[in-house]
Structure formats: C-alpha cells, structure tokens
C-alpha cells in the first residue's frame, strides 16, 4: 500500500490517515458489540455545509419565483402597453355610408381566403384609402346619427374560426385595423378544434382590436322542413314534426329562435361579460330567399331588434347607407379568387353614384352590376339579360344605386320574350321596392312592395312598341310621384302616387318568363340622372296661353317648385299682373308635390314702400303659398349690394314670421360663389335660384355644396322656360284634370250630397270616383256608408267587403262591417268569422279584440268577452275603450268601482286632462251609477288653475248643471246652454224649428251639462209637431226616461233600460191647438209628467235603483227620414232642489197618522223621509225604538216613491255596525237609514262606508243637525244614484222648520213646492233669452 505511487497532497494524506483509523475500528464485526453496526457513521462536516448550501439554493429559488410573481403584473402591463392596439387614423368624419366585408374564414383551406391573399387585400384597401370602423361606429351612425369617416369599411369574420383569428390578427394589428368576429357559439362550446376557445375570445376583446357579435348557436344546423325529409336552415324554416305530421306553430318557431338567441347571448355574456351588439345571420339568410316567407323575415328581423342593435347579412352587396335597415346590413362576402385589386375595384363600384350613371359605363363596366340570378352579360356595349336553361329569368342590381331616390332614367331596350322589369328604390333582399314591369304582350304595370307585406299594384296600362321593337323608356321618380313614358308618349294617364314614405333604394333589372330559358331582353342604352330641384316659371304673358294645364300634367313631375308669375314691382307702384286663381295653383302644386312659390319680379328697389314686405308676406300666406320667389335679375340700374341685401333681409324676415320660404334670384352680375356663400350663411331660410347647376358655383368646395343640400337651401336652377303657355286650366272641366285632382273633387262633391241627404246623388258621384280609381278602397267605403244610412245593410256590407278586398288594413271598417252583419242583417256566424280572421291577421289588435268582445256580449257570452277585454287591458292597462266596455260586464260593484278608479288614474296622468274630458264625454262615462266617483276628480279639474283655459272648460261641461235655464226664442237666437242637432237653425217669430235632417230620423235639442243630473226637470212649450215628440231624461245607451206623445193621440211616460221597456204609463190625449206646455220631472226615485202644469198621470212612476244617468233633451222622431219636426216656443230645464223631511230626536213619538198629516202636503217635493225610529245603544247595536209599525207612513212613501230612511239616534260612527244596519234594512223593508251624528265622522269612515255599501242594498244618510245656525250637514252613502248630483261630500243645507200644527202645512206647501219657477230676480229686458237662475236651494224640512 505504501508503495503505491500516488500524488496525494497533504490533505489527502490526512484523510487517508483518518480512514485508516476508522477501518481499524470497523474491521470485522465483533460478536460482543452487535450494536456497533447500528451506530451512525460520523457525518463529515462538509455534509452540514452542503445542507446549508441547499437551503441557500432553495432561498434563491423561492426569491426568484416570488420576484417573478410580484413583477408579473407590471411586466405584463408594460408588455401589453408596448403591444397595445393602436387604431389607424381615419380622418374627418363626415360620411354617411360604409362598406362591410365578410370573410368566411382565413386559412389554408382551398375554399377560403389564404393568409397571403388576406394580406394583399388589406394592403390594397389601405392603398385605396379605406378607413376601418368598428361596430360601435356603425351603432352610433344608425342610432345617434354620428357620421362615419370617408371610405369607411367594416371588416368582419364569420363562424368564430380559429384560423381567422390566428392568421388575420397580425396583418390587422400591424395595419391598426379593428375587426369584428361573429361568434357561432356551438363549435366553441363543443370544443371543435377549428373553432376559437373562450380564452382567445376574451383575449381578442381585451386587445381592443376586435369586437365580437353573435352568430347563433344552432343557426348553422338544418331542420327537417318537409315531410319528404328536405332539410333547410334552422333560422328560416319552420320545422316539420313527423310524429305529429304537421309543421310547428309560428309561436313554437318564434320560441325556438328566441331560445337560440337567448342562449347565444347568455353564453357570450357569461364568457366575455359583454353584450353582443350585432348579429350575423347564419348563411346570411333571414328568409329573403323565399319570397313567400314574409312571416319568417319579419320574425327574424324583429328578433334582431329585440336582442341586438345591428343585424348583418352577407352576399354581393357591400354598401350600407342611412337608408339601409340596420337589422339587415349588407356585407360583401369576399371570394377566394379575388386579388386585392379585385376587391378594391368591387368596393369602389359599390359607393353611391351621386351623379347618376352614364350610358357608356352602364353598358361596359361589368362591376356596375351585381348579377343576382340568371344570365347577365355585357356584349358589344349592350346589356343582355336572359334566362339560362335552368332558370325562368334573370336579375341584376346596379352597384352603388343605393341612394337612387329621385331621379330620371332612360332606357332603350329590345324585349325578345317575357316580362322585363325594373326595380326602383329596392332592397336586394326583395323586402321593399317599386317594380315597373313591361310585358311582351304590350302591358305595363307598376307594383309596390313594403317591408313585411305583399306587393300590390299601383297602376296598369298598355303600350305600343314601334316597328323595330325597340322601346325607349323614360321614368321619372320624385318623392311619391312616378311617371313613365314609352317612346315619348306618357304611359299612364296621370302621375302615379307611390304609397308610403319615399326612401332611396337600389335599381335593378329583371326578366322573367314562365318557360325556362326563354326570357331575354337587350338594353342598348341606359342613363340615370339624379333629379335636381327645379323651379317652374314662365313669362307673364304666357299664362293666358291654352294648354298650360295639359303641358303641366305631362311635365310637372320634373319640377319641384311652382312659381307662377304674380307681381311685377316697379318704382312705387306695383301691379298685380294676372287674375290667376291661387286655389288652382295651390292644388296643382299639392298634386305634384311641388312647392308653391309665386314669383315677384322686382324691377326697382328705389323708394319702395317699407310695408311692402309685410304685405307681400300676408298675401302669400293668404293664398296658401309655401313661399315667395323673388326675382331680382332684372333690376334696373345697378343698386348697391347693401340695398339688395337690405331688401332681401326685410322680405326674408317678414316671410320667416309666417313660416314661409324665400327664394332669390340675383342679377347675373352678382351670381358669384362669394355672394351666395355670404347670403346663405347669414339667412338660413333662404334659397338661391340660379340658372346653372349648383356645381357651377360650388365646384371646388364639395363641403359647401353638401352643406347647402342637407339644410335644404339648395341652389335652384330655374327652368329656362321653353314654353309660353297660358293657364287655360281655369275653366277646364273636371275630366281634363289628373286623377288626383278629380278624385279629390269627387270626394268632396259626394260628401256634400251625402250631408244634404241626396243619397242617390252621393252614390252616383262616388260610383264615378270608384270607376276612376278602381284600386282605391275609399269610394267603396263611402258608398257603403250611404247604403248603411239608408238601412240597406246587405248592399252596404257588400260594398264594405269590396273596399276591404282592395285595402285590407282598414280595421275600423272591419269592425263596422262585422257589427252590421251581426246586428243588422243577423248573420252572426259571418260576423264572427270575419272578426276571427282579422284577429288572426292582427293578433293583439285592440280594436279587433274589442269588436269580438262586443259581439260576444251580444251573444251573452260574457265570460269569453271579459277574457278578451282583459287581454287588451293586460296589454295596455290604459286602454280606455276596453275599460269602458269592461265596465258593463263587471258583476261585482266593487270591481266596477275599481275599474272606475283605474279609469280615473288614466285621466290623472299629467297632460291628459283635456283629452280625458273629451273621453269622458265620448264614452258616456257619467251614465254609470258609480259615476259620482269621477265627479270629485272633475271638480278638482274645474277648480284647477290652468295655463290652458281649455282644460277646466272641458271639465266644466261635465259638471251637473247648477242653474235652471229657460229659453224663449223671441230674440231669434238660442243660447249656448243648448245643443241642437237639427236640419235648420231657423228661429222665426219666436219659434224654433227642430227638424230631422233628410239623413236622420230624429232631431235633438240637448240640454248642456245635463248628463250628471239626478233630479231635474225639462219643459217645452210646443206649437206644432210632426211625428213623435219626446222629452228625454237621463238618456244613455239603451237607457232612458221619456215623456211625450205621438200622432195617434196617446201620451206616454216610459222607462227603458237596456233597450227594454221597463215601465210604461199612457193614456189617450189629443194635443190641443195652440201652445202646449209639457214638463218632465224627476224627483229622487219618482218621475212625473205634466201637461200645462197639471199632472198627466195619476201617480208617478218609479225609477229603479240601477237606473243610470244620461243626457236630457227634446227630440221629435219619425220612422222616415227628415219627417220629424217640432216648433218650440219655449224650453226650460234644470236641476230640482233636494228636499228631505227629517224628524229630529225627540222624546215623544208622533203617531202614524200625525206623521201622515205632516207629510201629505209635501209628497211631490220630498225625496226622502227620516222618522226617528231607531236608537243606537252604548255597545253600538241599533234597535227599534218605537212600538208601532207606522203602516200609513210606509204606504205613503211607497206610493210616492219617497225613500224611507228612518233615523238612528245617538249614533257613534266608531261603534256602528254597518252589517247590522244592512240586516235591519232587509228585515224592516227599508231603503236605508239616516244616522244622526253629534259630530260628522271623518272622511276615512265615509270612504270605508262607501266601499261597504257598494255591493249591499243599503243607503245611508249621515246627518249632523246644527241647531245653532239652522243648517244640516249631510253626507250621502249609497250604492245607487243618490239624491245629490255631483261628487259626494258633506253638504250644508238650511233647515226649514215646519210647524207642528197641521194648519201650517198649507203654508209650507206654498213656500216650498216649486212647480213653476219664480221670476228671475234681475232679468233685464235686453236679454230676454235665455233666462238662467239658480234653482231654489236644497232644503231640509224639519218636523
């Protein structure tokens, strides 16, 4: 071992020595030290040192980890900041259109755009100056009107495809372009490897460069759409349910889509915490590919607006303008084989062609057109549109024609086979458009289609082609006016008016023939020019030339302003040039939608009358002009600009005050851009008229030009008047005018005849109108009205139905027809069918629902009716009609009160007041017995201080009359206390002829403010009468009290309720010659008739408790129209005071006969009697306090219909048990009770009591006798019509103490019974009619 050569150091040697030692110690294990094996070897010092090092290493490790964690957030922030998305600058924002691109996906998939290609697209778009926008911009554009940058473009990607994001983001980010990703959530949720994952979606949103929209969850799946297993798109096809052999219902379809939308939205919100703003239709399909799927389209669009702000489709269109429906915005679907330049070229062609399109470009540039289907070719400068072998036709849209609103178009075409058509103002999805069709059989037609509706025909005509077969077609479209010419000849006899609001839209060409592959047309020339504002005027002398009207009828569609020469102003004097008829020009301008601005030719501005502008403006306003065209181009001399400006300012100011416009033409020397700018800027209502196009002046400043156009101070170019014609149309017959004018005339003439009762004439006139406008529904309806008026109901119904066929949307007419069918011709089944049909067509339409409810009420199917009405009310709790209709159906008085309170709440809304007053009147709300609840509201309104005096006045009409009016006609006129519905207003020799019109069976003289009257009288002195003569009281719908006579010699007092005669008293009576005075009177529950002051019948008739209110009036009636009449000499009417007989508490009792004796003389004036029979004990119980039954008193009150309401003494409202009172009243056969209170209970108690009695047969009078001043406080509580008219409140009534002695009863009778009114206290001789005075006060007779 020692020999072993080793280069050990000293340290090694030392170690070795140690090892030697230890080896010796651990040689072989010795038997006596077995534990030696288990002794641990000495751990060398270095192990400990190493362990310490490990600790240090771990500390370092932990330190680094902690540092990484701690610095993570700032580092991440710094990195994000460095990498943050910086949007590219977009320049000024003043544009109103944008294009949108849709990429299905960016990937290596050969069917999709590759990454390189996308880079190319992006580079080309940037080169071409496109500016990216975001969804937020689009939203602001449509919802807040915020303009977009010029050449705005929205980039969007579909399907949430993974590669679209991973591959597109870096080119987009380096360009600073934002983009939109539409999330199809299904593959994301299913973890499809090609779809994005939510963390990436969140990262996209977090980067700021991306926005997300929704693209449905199941929208790309297909559903079984037919029983043969055809599968169609989920969102646009109802599902076929094979198990049930039917399609799903529209409700189920709607719910399916809604569920999908909600699901998608909820997922996106859950994962991204953001509401998706936009929706992209899967396959870009919202149902537009199926023409018949109107419901589907409407539903889909409705759902977009319900769940999102914006909706996108995709296809060949890229452009969206102000007029694009934000629920179906276009996106250009980028195709795989497009290079960047292709894409840009396509987009460039998509922008609106503001200057129209010229022939050459239209015929040679392929990109001008977007072929839709069929064959479209440009060959040899011709457009060939033809069907392919498989198709029946072809269609192409013009790129960039989206803003074609008002324009002139010229086509030269050859129609080989089929029907050629031009779409105007269309949307490419076929939702709305005007369609001008031209068949090879010589027919033309103009059809219109609105969004969500079926198309309808506006006009048809025939044309003749020339020998070559070439057709020159000229179309003019301005506002709602459309006119067409073929080969120079006007096509329709007149201008066609387009329905609805004119909106710009695209122009498209189509060809169609039923035979596949046959249709073909060639277009050789095509030109579209936007329509400029043009002013039509002519030299004054021409106005007399013949044929001006005819010329205008052909050409007027091209003009926007009509300025017939009117005045020539020279020096101080001015001369009116023409005796032209402003009416005629006004109407002419109306018909052609022109502005009517008469022309003033100023020749001199020296020393004109300072009041001239005012007078001119007054005259213009007087003739109904829209403004004045002031021609300053022929000013003599050269007045300084300051004077011209002063004149313009003065005139402009005068016109502005009358809301009129001013158009100015300056002398040629002043027609400069600078002058115009200065004028236009200082006078915003001014329009400048120039000879040339506006471009001539504002060529270099498109901004200026655009600004002028938008604020409608467009520069107008006057027509250079190539014609000099005379306005001979003054004496033209009706037939020379265009249809619009003629139809208006016919309508008015017919109305005149109808009102005059010349029904045959009206029928004839409206019949002519119907022939003139066979598509117009109105004349048919009017003719139906005539027949209905003549009770020829079957004929009327036929006409109404014809009218509905032409225009099915006339819901009021539907309701009317159904009512006629049901009520008048007894065809309830047809009526219900009709209503049910419309109920399906317009589900939820309240008018239809209510009409159905009314029909059901007539069937007495009140529950179903209630259900229908409740549906309307649930939908709109403030539907007054429904509430009114419902009221009659409510069986429970409490419900009725609730309903009335609900109606009251409707009226209590701020701003509702005047309208509500009219509604109360129109709906007869006051005729219900509960109407007193409305009264306090009405009284509040009357007392209200209002800025609008109409408000309280409207309510004043509703208050119950508080004066008696007495009218004689000696002055030859009638006061406004009466309201006459009469043929004549003739008042001769102090007699008023009240006569039915030829169209009516009765004439009516209503007493104003009578609807809420309870106890009142009506009196008439009549001289002569034809037919029946009636005095009506409380007349409502089927409810009335009437008193009168007929020609058969009987006099009647009748009470009708719900159109049934309830009680009738009559006797033979012949009206004596001369003046007869009839009087109808209601006192409480009793109704009396008087002839010349004497009772006509032995006993009054009783008015039942449920009898409602209504108006009071005088009315002759005869079964034939126009026969009934009466000559009235004097009429009077007004309230009757309330009289109560009460017996104050006294210890001794009056006997039955004594009471009878006291009351006998007051039977005709008393409404209620309150003998002191009951007493309230300490515990609140009420008991009978008298021993005798008082049979005579009971009989007296029963006979005279006086309410017997015995008094309850010492009543305390706190302990009073109303239940017990109701039981007592029933037991003792009483009308109710009079409660003598020592102090009046608080209002709350009354409210409570009102509610309590509402459904009980119990009436109460709360009485507090104020002995010290001889008055009584009375408050009524009754479920029936009360004694006092108006709102229920505590009234204070004077006491008339009646002597106990029987002999004084006579005196009392004289003092209190009012059969004839006293003379008015201060009736002056100057005002003999009318005489109004307060009626005698209400009184309490105290015995």
């Amino acid at each position: 071992m020692t020999e072993h050569p080793s280069p050990f150091s000293q340290a090694e040697a030392k170690h070795r020595a140690e090892r030697e030692n230890s080896r010796d110690a651990q040689a072989y294990p010795q038997p006596d030290s077995p534990k030696g094996l288990r002794e641990p070897p000495v751990a060398p010092a270095r192990v400990a040192a190493l362990k310490a090092n490990y600790k240090q290493a771990w500390l370092w490790f932990l330190l680094i980890v902690s540092l990484l964690v701690a610095w993570g957030i700032p580092i991440r922030y710094a990195v994000m900041r460095y990498l943050a998305f910086r949007p590219a600058p977009t320049g000024p924002r003043d544009a109103h259109a944008f294009v949108a691109l849709a990429y299905e996906g960016i990937s290596d998939n050969p069917r999709e755009v590759s990454v390189d290609q996308f880079r190319q697209h992006l580079a080309a778009l940037r080169r071409a100056g496109y500016n990216p926008i975001t969804l937020r911009d689009v939203y602001d554009f449509y919802n807040e009107g915020k303009p977009l940058p010029r050449k705005a473009i929205l980039m969007s990607f579909d399907h949430a495809r993974k590669s679209s994001y991973f591959d597109a983001r870096s080119p987009l980010a380096s360009a600073g372009w934002p983009a939109v990703m539409f999330l199809w959530t299904q593959p994301i949720e299913d973890r499809d490897p090609s779809a994005l994952r939510w963390p990436y979606v969140r990262a996209m949103l977090g980067s700021g460069a991306w926005e997300v929209g929704a693209q449905s969850h199941l929208g790309f799946t297909q559903v079984t759409a037919n029983n043969d297993g055809t599968r169609r798109n989920f969102m646009t096809s109802p599902q076929w349910l094979p198990a049930e052999m039917r399609f799903e219902t529209p409700e189920a379809f709607s719910q399916r889509l809604q569920a999908d939308h909600e699901f998608t939205r909820d997922i996106i919100v859950r994962e991204t915490n953001r509401q998706p703003r936009a929706f992209a239709f899967p396959y870009g399909d919202f149902g537009q590919y199926d023409e018949r799927a109107i419901l589907v389209r409407r539903l889909n669009l409705d759902l977009v607006s319900k769940y999102y702000d914006l909706g996108f489709i995709h296809g060949t269109n890229a452009l969206n303008t102000r007029f694009t429906d934000p629920r179906r915005l276009n996106r250009l679907l980028v195709q795989r084989d497009w290079t960047g330049d292709d894409l840009v070229e396509r987009l460039e062609n998509a922008w609106p062609r503001e200057q129209g399109i010229r022939d050459l470009q239209a015929r040679t540039s392929k990109l001008t057109w977007l072929p839709d289907w069929g064959r479209f070719a440009l060959e040899d400068g011709e457009i060939i549109l033809s069907a392919t072998d498989e198709t029946t036709g072809a269609k192409a849209w013009m790129n960039g024609s989206d803003l074609f609103g008002d324009f002139q178009a010229r086509f030269r075409l050859t129609l080989e086979k089929g029907q050629f058509g031009i779409f105007l103002r269309g949307t490419p999805d076929g939702e709305s458009h005007l369609f001008f069709g031209l068949g090879d059989n010589g027919e033309v037609w103009l059809r219109q289609k609105h969004t969500g509706m079926n198309p309808f025909t506006l006009a048809t005509a025939r044309y003749g082609a020339d020998e070559s077969g070439s057709i020159l077609l000229e179309l003019d479209l301005r506002g709602r006016l459309f006119s067409a010419k073929i080969n120079g000849r006007p096509l329709f006899q007149e201008v066609v008016t387009v329905r609805g609001e004119p909106r710009p839209g695209m122009m498209g060409l189509s060809i169609w023939d039923p035979e596949p592959g046959a249709a073909a047309a060639t277009i050789r020339m095509l030109e579209v020019q936007p329509l400029r504002n043009r002013l039509l005027t002519w030299a004054p002398v021409s106005s007399r030339e013949p044929g001006l009207a005819a010329w205008m009828n052909t050409h007027a569609t091209r003009y926007t302003h009509l300025s017939p020469p009117w005045l020539r102003v020279s020096s101080r004097s001015h001369s009116e040039q023409l005796g032209w008829d402003p009416e005629l020009f006004r109407m002419f301008a109306d018909v052609y939608a022109m502005r009517f601005t008469p022309e003033i030719l100023m020749e001199n501005l020296e020393n004109f009358d300072p009041s001239l502008p005012e007078r001119l403006a007054d005259f213009a306003a007087g003739v109904g002009a829209d403004g004045i065209y002031c021609n300053l181009s022929e000013l003599r001399g050269a007045p300084p600009l300051s004077r011209i400006t002063a004149w313009i300012q003065a005139l402009s100011q005068a016109l502005l005050e009358r809301d009129l416009q001013l158009k100015i033409r300056l002398s040629p020397a002043l027609e400069r851009e600078s002058t115009f700018s200065a004028l236009l800027q200082s006078l915003p209502a001014l329009t400048v008229v120039v000879q040339d196009s506006p471009q001539a002046y504002f060529q270099d400043s498109p901004l200026e030009r655009a600004r002028i156009v938008t604020i409608e101070t467009a520069v107008i170019r006057p027509q250079s008047i190539p014609f000099h014609t005379q306005l001979s149309g003054l004496d033209a017959t009706v037939n020379e005018w265009v249809t619009e004018v003629r139809s208006r005339l016919l309508r008015e003439q017919g109305q005149e005849a109808f009102n005059a009762g010349r029904f045959d004439e009206a029928l004839e006139i409206w019949g002519r109108w119907s022939e003139l406008e066979p598509y117009n529904a109105e004349p048919l309806r009017l003719q139906g009205d005539v027949h209905a008026r003549r009770s020829e109901f079957n004929r009327a119904i036929d006409l109404y139905r014809a009218s509905l066929d032409r225009s099915p949307g006339q819901i009021p007419l539907v309701v009317l027809t159904a009512r006629l069918l049901d009520v008048n011709v007894n065809q309830p089944r047809e009526a219900m069918d009709m209503l049910n049909l419309y109920g399906r067509l317009f589900p939820g339409n309240p008018e239809i629902l209510l009409a159905r409810a009314e029909a059901l009420i007539r069937r007495n199917r009140r529950d179903e009716a209630t259900a229908l009405i409740t549906r309307v009310i649930d939908n709109d709790p403030e539907d007054l009609n429904a509430r009114v209709l419902l009221h009659g159906l409510l069986p429970n008085p409490l419900q009725r009160i609730e309903n009335l309170d609900a109606i009251k709440t409707i009226g209590a809304r701020p701003g509702m007041e005047p309208h509500f007053a009219n509604a109360i009147e129109a709906n007869h709300l006051l005729i219900w017995p509960e109407s007193w609840r409305l009264m306090d509201y009405i009284e509040t309104q009357v007392a209200r201080e209002s800025l609008d005096p109409e408000g309280p006045a409207a309510f004043t009409k509703l208050l119950p009359r508080d004066t008696v009016v007495r009218e004689n006609f000696t002055l030859g006129r009638m006061s406004d206390h009466w309201n006459a519905f009469s043929d004549t207003d003739d008042i001769e020799d102090g007699g008023f002829l009240l006569a039915a019109t030829p169209a009516t069976a009765e004439a009516v003289l209503q007493l104003n403010r009578s609807t809420a009257l309870h106890s009142a009288f009506l009196e008439a002195a009549i001289e002569d009468a034809r037919g029946f003569f009636w005095l009506y009281a409380r007349r409502g719908d089927g409810t009335m009290l009437r008193y009168g006579f007929d020609q058969t010699g009987q006099i009647f007092l009748q009470l009708w309720q719900n159109e049934r005669l309830i009680s009738n008293t009559n006797r033979f009576w012949t009206r004596p010659t001369g003046i007869t005075r009839l009087r109808l009177e209601i006192r409480g529950d009793a109704a009396f008739g008087f002839i010349d002051g004497e009772p006509a019948f032995g006993a009054p008739i009783r008015i039942p408790d449920g009898f409602g209110l209504g108006w009071w009036g005088i009315s002759p009636w005869a079964p034939d129209f126009g026969v009934a009449q009466v000559i009235l000499r004097e009429v009077a009417g007004g309230p009757i005071p309330v009289r109560l007989a009460i017996f104050p508490p006294r210890p001794e009792e009056l006997t039955d006969n004594e009471m009878l004796g006291l009351l006998r003389h007051h039977t005709r004036e008393l409404q209620a009697v309150a003998p002191q029979w009951y007493v309230q004990e300490i515990n609140g119980r009420v008991r009978l306090d008298v021993s005798q039954p008082y049979p005579n008193l009971r009989m007296l009150t029963r006979f005279h219909h006086i309410r017997l309401m015995p008094g309850v003494r010492a009543a305390s409202h706190r302990t009073l048990d109303l239940e017990q009172l109701a039981e007592l009243a029933a037991r003792d056969n009483l009308y109710g009770f009079t409660l003598y209170f020592a102090r009046m209970p608080p209002q709350e108690w009354f409210d409570q009591a009102d509610r309590f009695v509402a459904d009980k047969n119990l009436s109460l009078l709360a009485v507090h006798i104020r002995e010290h001043d001889g008055h009584v406080d009375i408050r009524e509580i009754t479920p029936h019509i009360g004694l006092f008219a108006g709102a229920r409140s505590i009234r204070t009534i004077p006491i008339q103490r009646n002597a106990q002695a029987k002999d004084t009863a006579e005196a009392a009778e004289n003092a209190s019974v009012e059969t004839t009114p006293p003379e008015p206290p201060s009736a002056s001789q100057d005002e003999p009619a009318p005489i109004t005075f307060p009626p005698p006060p209400d009184k309490v007779l105290l015995f």
Partner: protein
Amino acid sequence: MSDPSASPRRPTPPRKKQGTVSRCAKCEISVYTIDSPAPAVCPFCHRALEHKHFDAPPPEKVAVEDDVEEHVRRLYRKPHPLLVGALGLIGTILLSIAVYFQVVNIEHYYYAPMVNIYSLIVGLFIVSRFILSSFYRAPLDVGYRPKISVLVPCMNEEEAIARSIARVYAEGYPDELREVITVNDGSTDNTLHEMLRAQAAFPRLVVANFEKNRGLCYGMAYSTLLARGEFCVFVDSDTFIMPGAIGKLVQGFVDNTVGGIAGHTDVENARVNVLTKMQDVRYFFSYKIMKAAESVYGCVSCLPGCFSAYRRACVLHVMDEWMNEKVFGQSGNYGDDRSLTNLILKDYRILYDDESLATTNAPEDWRTYTKQQSRWMRSSVRGILSATTFIWKKHPVPALSWYAMMMLPIIEPVIMVQALVIAPLMQGFITTSYLFGVSAITMIWSLYHFQKTGRTHWWTGFVFTFTYIVFYSWQIYYAIFTLATKSWGTRGAKKS
C-alpha cells in the same frame, strides 16, 4: 495470485490446500475461506460459527478468454467527424423544431391544455437533462487506492460465475487492497461448486453459501457485513468489468460526502437481437444523460446492482432500515439497490463515473424483459415515493427534477391516449406536436448514442420509445397497484 507460467521450474502438481468452512447453524449459512481469515461470528445473528476444514479442490485455471482490448474497441468507436457534425446538425434542427412546436403550443394552449402543459414540462425536463449532463465531469483519477471489497452475490449462475470472478481478479486493482466475496444465494444448480472451483484458483476468495434462497438483498447485506474493505463494489454475476474500472470507480470517494458511485454499464449481449440492441441504446441514455445529469448535483437516483460502489460505513448505517423496510405496513424482502441508494442519498451524495466501464447481460426475450421492466418500474415507484419525503432538502434542481420524474410517468399514458387516441377519434388528426416532440427527443438521444459509441443500431431507440409509449408506460399503474409484491422478474422465472 501469481502467474504460474512465470516460474522457470517445471510445474509441480498443485498442493492440495485446506480451507475452512464456518457455518452458522441457525442461519444456515456457510462461509468458505482458504487464504482469507475465516469469520468468527455470524454477521446476522452474532453467534459463534462452527469451523470445519475442507479440502479445496485442485486449482484450475479459470479461462478469461475474452480479448478485452477488442471488447472495448468493439464497444466504442469514433464515427466519422463529418458524420458527427451532420448528426449534430440534425439534432439541432430537430430540437429547434421541437422548441418551435412548444412555442406554437403555448399560443394554442387552450386547445389541448393537458397535452401542452405536459409536453412543456417534459420538454423542459429532458432538455434540462441534456444541459445538466453537459456540465457533468467524471471524478478525477487522483490515484486513490483504498481497501475495497468486491461483492458478487448470485444465484443459479453456474455458467457465468467463475468467469465473472476471474474477471474481477483480472481487473487490475492491487491484490492486497482488494478482497472478493461471492455469495451463493441458495442456488439449485452447481453454482457453489463453480464458486469453490474459482476459490481454488483464487484462494483469497471468500465464498458464502446460503443453504436456502434468501433473496438478493440478503446476499448483498451478508457480503457487506463480511467485507473488510472501506468500500464495497457490488458486481452482478453476469457483469463483466473492464480493466481498471474498479480503480476508477472509487476515485470519487476522495470526497467524504460521497456515499456511493455508479459505474457505467453497457449491454454485453447487445448484438443478439433487436431487444438487446434497444436496451443498449436505452442503457446508454439512462447512464450518459440521466445519471450524468443527476450526478452533477450528487443525486443519482439509483446505484445499479450490477456495478456500483458504496461506502461500506454508509451501507452499514442504513442496513437495519434497508433490510426491514416496510411497504404499506407489510414487511418483507423489498430491499434492493434502489432503496439502498435512497437511504444513503438521504445524507450523502451519490455520483456516477462514466469512465468506469462494465458490461452486463440484458434480457434476450421479451417475456423476461417485460418482467424485468415491471420489477424496475415497481422499485422505481417505490424508491421515488420514499425519497419524496427528504429530497426537497436537497438542492432545488435535483429536487424539482425528482418531483417531475415522479409525476411525469404517471401522467404519460393519459397524455398519450389523449394525443394519439382521443384526439384522432374526436378531431380527426393526431396531435402532431406530441408526436413530433417524442420523435425529436428519441432521435436526439439515439443519435447521441451513435455519436458517442459508433454503434450502428442507434435506430433501435425508436423501438424502445415506441414499445415504451405503447406498452411499458402502462406498467406504472400496475406497479402502483402491486407495490407490495416481492416477485423477482428475471430470476424468479428460473426458480419456478
């Protein structure tokens, strides 16, 4: 031993030598010694041994017929430098692609979060192995010559044992500093006889004989207890030690904190078939890369029983614990090389010496291989689990690697299924990043193997990877569920 041919005299018939048999009746163990001192007490039960004498058989020359030079030359050849350069280039490219895939995967993380995070960690782990192993330096040969004991426990190895012993003696370590102890663990064949024959040739050889089979670890323990050297070098009966290997192996013990050192072992029978070739590549990788990387921080996870050295004091220190190890509360014979390593690792450093060469026989049929793999897997799971309780006290780098090593094989099959089965079924394509990553790594270490050894069967690395991923990775679960099993893969088969 002295070379008989060195004597100028005619050879005299060998004198019959007398040896001593020391037997413990209780333990039923005998120790045969000739020139070595006989033990006085039983190392297990500490009873006095009864001694008998026996006649050693006449010494025969044990043939060591191998041409060692040729052997080494065959094992390690230098490939052409250009080829090496090209391979390096390929490796670099592959590695870059794999890194690229990793980066892409981080971006697409959410599409396969499990696979991605797994392959990220695996990638980091394996790359860290390469990086760490590049810092590895074998212990310096300072000429340290301590007294050592070479211990050869074996069972039923009658064919190889004599040769094996002869090779130990031929290895070249100074005779006086080396003792050789061989243990016959109750063999049923002529192993004992072969041992005694070898003892006759090398009279200092100590032969211990278990009269009944006790298990390898008893053999190891018994021989360690018998040993008198400062360091124990364990050698398998089928291990062939290259000349100078033992001398090199103990150089690391110069450092007092080192408790054990693993030698480098190649597959002896590498040329037999694909299986052995494959194992050769695999051995090379696990030694040259894995052990080398672990050795940088002195945390080699396993000192293989076939050729490694222990500080005897350390083994004695943990022997009690090692022999009485309990798994799931069940005591039994679990101790093996790995658990011993763990116990030592707790307090000491364990190194690897890649210049100390040996070869060993690998299983030649798949059945044996499978059993061996299963046993290794079980012991590796056991070892890794038992070390988790203290490994965090080591340096963070080996500690974290250790935990990664613990988790990754468990997740691996799941990931494989996700990437190669579920993904194609659900999404229509195989997770390419996974496939590419695995291939790239296999490629790199296979090429490394080629570059270092010049052995042309480097491609069998792919076979290994494939078989491992598809079949053997699943053994981890089997191993987890059968942790308490004792059966011995390769040798148990013979026994039955």
